[in-house]
Amino acid sequence: MTSHVRDLSWQVVVGGMLRRGIVLIVLVGLMTYFASQSDRFFQSRNLVNILEQNAALMIVTVGMTLTMLIAGIDLSVGSVAALAGAISAGLIVNNGFSFEVSVVVTLALGFAIGLLNGGLIIWGKLPPFIATLAMLGIGRGLTLLYTEGRPISLNGVDQYTFYGRGDVTLPVFGQTPVSVLVALAVVMIVSVILSATRFGLHIYAIGGSEETARLAGVPVTRVKMIVYGSSGMLAALGGMLLTARLFSAQPQAAVGMELDAIAAAVLGGVSLFGGVGNVIGAVTGGLLIGVLSNGMNLLRLASFLQQMIQGTVLVVAVAIDMIIKRIEGV
């Protein structure tokens, strides 16, 4: 994973293993428990449901992880997702654009909004929290303006909705939802970039210490801009998947998604202070949230109680993160 883990004391090594392992242990524990309580849980349809329900969140979480790795944050992802859903649908339904053109334009728009975030942070000297919080408001406002507060229906635009509800038949896995494949592809690609490229190394270096990275010759500004741009673009992709899943672009889609993505990343061992964590962990954290909510539904827990338990799990996970950090002596 990171270069700075390699030559440090045993505490760091153990801490790193725990950090990566804990979410998996909890996930397996939870799944075993749910399976013991409901014979419906381990049915393949239900497991596919869980992946499908969280495909958009997984993609957005990948972008969030990138910004957290450089000790930043992107609170605008939910709004950008909603705006992307609305614009991609509007371009097709209202302006007669083809599906492909609409997707490319929307992804570019997401990237541009991300660059704007990056610009505000780098040249505007705004804290990432504030810059992207402002964009959260602006993005939602733009979405409401563009849609006039009404959903844009994609009922019948099969090419688009295929990515939300469609399946492809794969050799080993059989019927696999397209949205899940898209999410897995994103996770794989970004994971490889982070662990096996110079660019990935630069991201971890900036998260470890921006000043040191700069002195070591890392092109800090460029890397940060690309990270925020990518977060915006991935949010746009997530928003389009969400839209495809609902056959309609909702002006109030993905409200609070930034919090789910941050929770997922933190659960998955991504540090809020930068430099530590990886995409696989973060996505596993997202799946943990998804499994928890699905399992609690299957166990027929009252919905108010569900929200409480979700909050509790997050607190416990972050507490463990702090304990591990103490062991590492960071």
Partner: protein, 298 residues
Amino acid sequence: MRKTLTLVLVIMMALLSVVVTTAQDAPTIGLSVSTLNNPFFVTLVEGAQAAADAAGAELIVLDAQDDSATEAANIEDLIAQGVDAILVNPTDSDAIVPSILAANDAGIPIFTVDRSAAGGEVVSHVASDNVAGGMLAAQFLCDALGGAGKVVELEGIPGTSAARDRGAGFNAYMSQSCTGVEVVARQTANFNRAEGLTVFENILQAQDTINGVFAHNDEMILGAIEAATAAGREGITFVGFDAVDDAVAAVNNGTLAATVAQQPALIGQLGVEAAITYLGGGEVVANVPVALSLVTAQ
């Protein structure tokens, strides 16, 4: 570290097991509600729960928190559980369609409550009868005016089903059963209090005699009352629709004569009853209109 881990797992499982209900063989009905952060829907769920209890059925209530994606996930989870029927209160008529298609594929009958769906196969739609509500308002206004006078109708957003149906009921009653009352002005104020105020100010300027006003919702009637108060016009009977808190308060202090109330508990109850009848092999109608009631100062 291992201790902490074990502790975490134990705590989470303890939290979960406390509240797990055991399954049995009574019919199980899922209810996906758009939000429980609104008293209207909380009351709807209570009505549904009471009807389920009375019939010995199990009701699983899932809250979408006004998020269409959450509702889609909830309905998938209901389908995965193999419930016998699903009552859906859509967050959005369009966004609910893929979920309803999925339930159709799984062979689970769907009933919509309060809001309808734009597609998919729905056994029955249970919602307030706005036409009857409009008639109820007209009847009250007619009686209050002694069967003669000049009234104004403030209409809701053109094209919405609520505005259409409430207006249709009101005007049908007035033209057929209350011919002594004349509707002298009919304008839209878009369900909005501020517009209700300005629109009614203009009408007051144009009409010397106004005996009554009916608005398609409470917001507009409350605006109209402000306009009349500011202009010093008295002796006007105001009738609103929805029975929101402000309107009920206005009824209690006498400025508003009446407001038409929906009966969310009855909507929930009739929804569950329709599902149980259908599951028992009985016939259900495609549209179940739910009666409304009038809130007046006794």
